[in-house]
Amino acid sequence: MGDPSTRLLWPILGLPTVFWILLFFIVPFYVVLCVSFGTVDPVFRSPIPIWNPLDWQFAQVQVVWDRLVGPNNFYLPAVLRTLVYVVVAVSACLLIAFPVAYFTARYAGRYRGLVLALLIAPFWISYMMRMLAWINLLQPDGLVNSIITLGGLVPLNINWLSGNPYTVVMGLIYGYVPYMLLPLFASLDRISPSLLEAARDLGASGFDLFRRVILPMSGPGVVAGTLLIALPMMGDYFTSDMLSKSPNTAMIGNLINLSIATPGQSGQAGALLILVLLVLLVPMIWYTRSNAKAEVRS
């Protein structure tokens, strides 16, 4: 392997992707920084990026920061709402996904292939189509309301689709739970049945078995699944837009999305995005590192 042509082969194969990532991942984020730490044209309300980091100005970050924690903190409710929605939705996803993944890994028997295929199905059904499905069902005259009112007998008209937080959280659970299921299934599937058998033989009750064997061993899967859905959910704006379209259920993603659409606020959108990414940076790096390590180990 000593000749130079061989030594050069591997970098040559890899360089196109390295350049691609440099150009279309690193550069875009640098531009976001330059726009957020730039200024705004006072007449045209268009952002003026500042390319030299030494000249960066922090006026737009200051604006966003004041809206978050300052006296005029109208961003704060959406931020707190996002945290509540994400915590509730992720917990519910865990509660749903754990028994389902456990059943599939251990008890599905000859239906295992079928159950797995059905669990994977929502992956290739578009997210928007799945939200459309619920919009159809939850319309004022939709199927859900006609079932609840027994076909119009009970005078109960629930408005699901404008500003109903339960609908939005349900939508988040519905949308993200498949992404939780796969890593959980993978980690539960790796637990050897003989290990459970041994615990049983040593006198573990069903609850002991769950608490002292299954739960610790599925820990990495639980953490991976949680991060895999919680982090993207932090930037979600379309679930709330589709199922509510009301500022009463706006999440951080909606704030960013709305700022982008408002003239002169691009820099503020960028600044808010940077703040969000700063908070998410540690868990993102943590997930990616453990993912890369697991890959090498397997």
Partner: protein, 307 residues
């Protein structure tokens, strides 16, 4: 999906529920409860989508009251059907076009990078790999805004529209072929290549004639995954679209779902669903044929491990 983890199944059967001493509740009873939960979950997950598909065949305009079967919203409605509504037609063709182009760029880039990563040590490839992997958890809106700003404030040779969308999608999807091919390369190991080299193959020859053919299932699986995932993409394609001509089906659903749409919207969503399913089924058939011919018991559930 029947080839999934056959050895594990055998192990389960050998030690399966029923033969262990009864301690607290029979395992059979617990599996029954878990089975019910699983069944209810699957119904909840899939029935709403099935209803959406069903109502794409509704005779009337309603998306909640069944008025008889018809293909009206696919074919013969003069203005609203998929065939006769130019906006829907454009959305469908553009979505498939994006999926084809993005897959054709993402998979070769990812495969070559995975090959390089096997031998090329150092900070540059490790850093690039790290960034590619971070796309699994980064909120998509972050990359979308980054690319939007880049196209808007830098003099890029491409503007918003198809190429910006393709670039965003490729960047976001690169992790799939990289992760899947690396996993496959690890199972292949180095000895085939070493043998080829001992027999006089050049480094490039060994990659081309030994490694690439053995990578085939990984290439196939990542192509199918990337294709299906791009069909569903929403955030990137919306931020990077230019006008109505670069609208995709997911954008169309987002824009019209709340504004009294007709079942034609359901019909459009159903068509994308069918395209996606067809690609997956064809991919799976090819995969099965390949693994039978190779006599290999390759395990799809390793996919679950990569996420």
């Amino acid at each position: 999906m029947t080839i999934l983890a056959a050895p594990a199944d055998a192990a389960l059967k050998a030690t399966g529920p029923g033969i262990r001493p009864r301690l607290r509740g029979t395992p059979g009873a617990r599996a029954y409860g878990l089975g019910t939960i699983t069944a209810v979950y699957l119904l909840w997950a899939l029935v709403p989508v099935a209803i959406t598909v069903l109502f794409s065949f509704n005779e009337g305009r309603s998306r909640s009251a069944w008025q008889g079967f018809s293909l009206r919203w696919y074919t013969w409605d003069p203005t609203g059907s998929v065939i006769n509504d130019p906006a829907i037609r454009t959305a469908l063709t553009h979505t498939v076009l994006l999926a084809v182009i993005a897959t054709c760029i993402t998979v070769p880039l990812g495969v070559l990078f995975a090959l390089a990563l096997d031998r090329w040590r150092g900070r540059i490839p490790a850093g690039a790999n790290f960034i590619a992997l971070i796309t699994f958890v980064i909120p998509e809106i972050a990359l979308a805004i980054g690319l939007l700003f880049m196209v808007t404030y830098l003099a890029t040779p491409f503007g918003l529209g198809t190429w910006a969308q393709v670039i965003g999608l490729v960047t976001f999807q690169l992790a799939y072929p990289i992760v899947i091919c690396r996993a496959r390369l690890l199972t292949i190991g180095a000895h085939y290549e070493e043998a080829a080299r001992d027999l006089g193959a050049s480094a490039i020859g060994a990659v081309r004639r030994i490694i690439l053919p053995m990578l085939f299932p990984a290439i196939l699986v990542s192509s199918v995954l990337v294709f299906a995932d791009v069909l569903d993409d929403f955030v990137l394609v919306r931020y990077l679209s230019s006008d109505a001509s670069t609208e995709t089906t997911s954008m169309r659903i987002y824009q019209t779902a709340r504004a009294a749409p007709t079942p034609a919207l359901n019909a459009m969503a159903t068509i994308i669903l069918v395209v996606s399913a067809a690609v997956i089924i064809v991919g799976w058939l090819i995969y099965r044929r390949w693994s039978r011919r190779q006599g290999e018991n390759t395990d799809i559930s390793s996919l679950a491990n990569t996420l």
